[in-house]
């Protein structure tokens, strides 16, 4: 199977991960625990994009606002629309990253890393390393959170606890 076919076949994996991430970010009381003990707090803010495919072609709903804990977006999920992209904030220690993640490729878009301060005459390599290590740290953390999602999906508790709780959360957005 070609990569494109495999991406198409398995695109629900990224979409469902984004929904779970949104659900977890709104309902969990504790932050994600990263390797090494650091905690990462994550929330959706600014924009979520949902799509559906029907007789009228692809229909896109973009929900924007300071707080996307809005009914409209969850209502669209309950209507069968798929979450395709979301703006995410992630905070670990004193650092905060803001980016959009798409569900098909899980590419990062418009990433703003924590500010890298540059002093006049500073070695450009120092700036390079600071910036790149912040990007790699974000990827490392997002991969760990994705790994946590896989663990949840493969756990027997998924069907009995996690998925019913996720469905309750979606319905709360509808009622």
């Amino acid at each position: 199977m070609s990569v494109i076919d495999e991406v198409r076949e398995s695109q629900s994996l990224g979409r469902d991960f984004l929904v779970w991430l949104w659900f977890r970010s709104e309902t969990m009381e504790e932050a994600f625990e990263m390797q090494g003990g650091e905690e990462a707090e994550l929330w959706f803010e600014g924009k979520v994009t949902l799509q559906s495919e029907g007789d009228r072609g692809v229909e896109t709903v973009v929900c924007t606002g300071e707080n996307v804990r809005i009914r409209e977006a969850r209502f669209a999920l309950a209507e069968g629309k798929k979450l395709t992209r979301a703006k995410i904030h992630l905070r670990a220690g004193d650092h905060e990253w803001v980016f959009e993640l798409d569900s098909t490729w899980m590419n990062f878009h418009s990433l703003k890393t924590p500010r890298v301060f540059r002093e006049k005459g500073e070695d450009p390599d120092a700036l390079f390393y600071e910036r790149v290590l912040l990007e790699e740290k974000l990827i490392f953390m997002m991969d760990q959170i994705f790994s946590e999602y896989l663990e949840a999906r493969l756990s027997p508790a998924w069907d009995t606890e996690e998925f019913p709780a996720l469905m309750r959360w979606i319905r709360q957005g509808v009622k």
């Binding site: 991406v7 069968g80 899980m106 990433l111 700036l127 990827i139 896989l150």
Partner: protein
Amino acid sequence: MGLIYGSASFCRYEVDGSPPDNYVEEFPKEIIRYAFHSLDDLPGEERSTGWVNILDMFDNEFRAMEYFKEPFIALSWRVDVKRIPKKALLQYCREAEKEVKERENLEYLPKGTREEIKESVRLRLLRRAIPQSGVYDMLWNLQTNTVLFGATGSKLCDEFAEFFRKTFHLQLLPIYPYALAQRVLIDRGKDSALAEEIKPLYFAEDPGA
């Protein structure tokens, strides 16, 4: 805008295979071979692609092999394109054809002559055109053997992956959710085939929605 300055948009790849043991000697030759060349040095060409210094898009010489930034190989892929507006080409061709017809007292020009005129007009306009430059950062982490590429458009990413293969003789495998799931499961000592057991979720209240 890119991986080093401004906001970043990027895709990820896994490198299929390892660099040769003597990559410190081999890669500099290949990077110079595939370094960026200005369109000014390539008469008649409308597009030029190649490697430049990630911290200076005008440096294609890499005198200090600045791309070795342990554990990374860090480069930018520069793409310059000169575009001639179709209508401008048509207008200048018409004028040139008219001049030839009047000079040689011809009512019609043979197809071959019209094509020669078009090519000569294209070359003339190309010399006057200012190229548009795109610069896309590339970070190859040799420890994790993964690559970040500072663009997300499929066509550009495919072209980049092919350029990477030509330069380094290694294939790039895109990292997308399913591939990442397999990678994560293997890292956790589990069977990568478990990824296939994760079925799509349905959230619709009306299952037919």
